[in-house]
């Protein structure tokens, strides 16, 4: 055996040891977090926000380091935009933590209670999920959002941010830990993986089921797919948002136009942006050109099927791939479908179970769409861009879950909890 091989093995073992100690420390923090009062958790959150404001200069210095490295690596400008912090963004981060402090505490909430004929008093009470592993890409503010939301729900968290934001995240994490300590909570409640080694993610996913209760991947399709394939613990998946807006034969034209434009163009880079417009063939003459006008006006490129191209020459050809594509850009695909059934079939085949909307004045058609489209969020006469925890009234969110188990849709503090049954008796034994 060469000394290099033996060194590699030592390094692997060291990394494994590091990861296991993170896991053990997170587990050890659980009881203190589960039993922390709302007041203590909120005090920690407000101290975190304060520390972020006070340490603003240090965070910006760390961020400048990340940005310099990223530029040296010729990273794209869209990517850079997500990475760069300035005073306003740091301030928004602190305000975000304060908003989480102001949310109701889900832990301890009695979800139901009922009595049994034998006098047993049953209830179902919200409790923290436990230890959450969050894997995300390079937006440094996710470190603050995710850490704060997990704390609010009484969870310990192990964060793994993108390597490009490593220094920024480290500086933000220091502020979060300061807040924890100021409130008398274990600073191991929020930890991050202290290396950019990709092997660490494999260990987190596969070798730590005793220490990690759930993994939340937050990022692009390839990240989420890797996590789903490799994880040996449950995953709260946040897959892409391949959202559809269907314009029915009974859609009012002005509403169809304004919803189409908003759903696609308000912000093109969010997961609730519409990627495909489905148009009922009954209204291609009356509705399609006007919708195309409105979209082209806003600078949107339109790719459509053969039938739509015949109606409007500004539509370029779409390929089969387009129906599967989350553009996250000023591009929309257009498909002509045979009424609501055609729309439902298209979404079943190409959708990502995220958010889909119908525009129609026909209530029966709307209800058919709402009941038959199998997505976390289904909408009638409104914009898919409302797919957002804040817009739902849930406060901050960590993303939109497209998985079926646990909690599809926006994942906020409440969705980061589970429950237990509490049974109170007076000596009952089972006959």
């Amino acid at each position: 055996m060469s000394s290099v091989e033996s060194l590699d093995r030592d390094q692997t073992q060291n990394l494994r040891d590091t990861m296991i100690s993170l896991g053990k420390a997170a587990r050890a923090a659980m009881p203190a977090l589960a039993n922390a009062t709302t007041e203590v958790k909120n005090r920690a959150l407000l101290e975190m926000a304060k520390a972020v404001r006070v340490q603003s200069a240090a965070i910006l210095t760390a961020n400048a380091q990340d940005v310099a490295t990223a530029k040296a690596n010729n990273i794209s400008s869209a990517f850079l935009d997500r990475l760069i912090l300035d005073e306003a963004r740091v301030d928004a981060m602190a305000a975000g933590i304060e908003a989480i402090a102001a949310l109701p505490d889900p832990v301890g909430n009695v979800m139901d209670s009922w009595d049994r004929p034998n006098g047993l008093q049953m209830s179902r009470v919200r409790v923290p999920l436990g230890v959450i592993g969050i894997i995300y890409e390079s937006r440094p503010n996710v470190t603050a959002d995710a850490g704060a939301l997990c704390l609010k729900a009484g969870n310990a968290v192990i964060l793994r941010g993108g390597s490009e934001s490593f220094e920024s995240s480290r500086a933000i994490l220091a502020c979060l830990k300061e807040g924890l300590v100021a409130a008398g909570l274990p600073d191991t409640a929020i930890q991050s993986i202290p290396t950019t080694d990709r092997a660490a993610v494999g260990i987190l996913l596969q070798d730590m089921p005793e220490y990690v209760d759930v993994i939340v991947p937050r990022g692009g399709k390839s990240l989420v797919e890797r996590v789903q394939n490799e994880a040996r613990v449950p995953v709260l998946a946040h897959l892409e948002g391949l959202c559809h807006t269907y314009i029915d034969r009974d859609a009012e034209i002005e509403m169809a136009k304004s919803i189409s434009v908003n759903a696609k163009m308000r912000r093109t880079g969010i997961c609730g942006a519409t990627e495909t417009l489905l148009i009922d063939q009954a209204v291609i003459q009356s509705h399609l050109p006007q919708i195309v006008d409105a979209l082209v006006d806003k600078g949107c490129e339109i790719r459509g099927d053969t039938q739509s191209q015949k109606i409007d020459s500004r539509i370029t050809p779409a390929t089969e791939d387009d129906w599967f594509t989350e553009y996250l850009d000023s591009i929309v695909s257009v498909k002509i479908v045979d009424g609501v059934e055609g729309a439902i079939d298209h979404i079943a085949k190409y959708g990502s179970h995220h958010t889909d909307s119908i525009v129609t004045d026909n209530i029966e058609t709307a209800e058919r769409f709402l009941s038959q489209v199998d997505s976390a969020i289904v909408m009638h006469n409104t914009s898919t861009q409302f797919a957002d925890g804040g817009e739902f009234g849930m406060g901050a969110e960590i993303g939109i879950s497209t998985g079926r188990l646990h909690s599809p849709g926006p994942v906020g503090a409440e969705q980061l909890t589970t429950f237990k049954y509490v049974v109170r008796g007076s000596g009952q034994i089972r006959p």
Copy 2:
């Protein structure tokens, strides 16, 4: 390449093709199931029950075949007892399906609804989980229970029973399909894997994420662990029940005795049976000997720590392994602990997050136990044997989930659903 290898490869490919067609057929059945009315689903269930009664002779003949094979393989008597059907058991199976028909339909239930300031009307509505794979051991009645519960919740199901009950399950499945067809539902709503080949389970767990939404393993520890390790889709795990009853210093002695005896001895083979008694050291003199008397009277063997052995000579030595053992037999382990904190610590170390109970007249102590013990079901002054969906008022169940996500505790029809958000607007666009 030898012809044998090439044959093996062909067989593997055939098995894979068989499994994928099961998955495709299950997916194809989903819309009809999701949209089936309560009346249609209940009609199917009642027709299933009728078919089970009418086909009783055929089921018993198939079961006799399984029993003969099992006997030839020298299978244990406990195992045989679970496998053997008689007229009364077949009748109970039919009655079980009828009871599921009588349950409320969870699908379509509006869980919450609220309005947003912009006029959007939000609601959260229960929908089926989708396609469920259920892997279970050799009690043939599980075929009927699991098939009926999944249908009630609008799910398609792929069943994989133990190979020892293969013929019995096949005969029961035929009755279930008869019921589906009589109600006009696709008979692919309930399917079973048509081979006892173990490789089929591997394919179900790993190669069918497009077709299977969740796996429910129901059986012993090794089965559940295999499923958790191999599955690439979410698992609703039903791990063992290593349940504890803690007798606190403030426990009333008569209640402590009757609950201890009931919790351990009412039925020793169920997952809610207590396996370890934790006794507060403050009451070892006053309570322990009387509890031991009562248990010994019922024929229970008692294994204890050194301290307990000093108090009562009928207690034989327990090893470290005993604290981890789900006996499912007339054996209990006894550990002396230092008050409620000692009990909480022991359960945190050795428990299986299933069901744990405290006996005490001190409400403060009880609340501490209820809040700090991290199990799906926590109890005060009652018997762990109440850990059962029927006793909770939920009707039939498929088992007790010990996982944190989705739905810990008894899993009945409601727990086999998920939800979606329905948003109703009048043209709102997001500012």
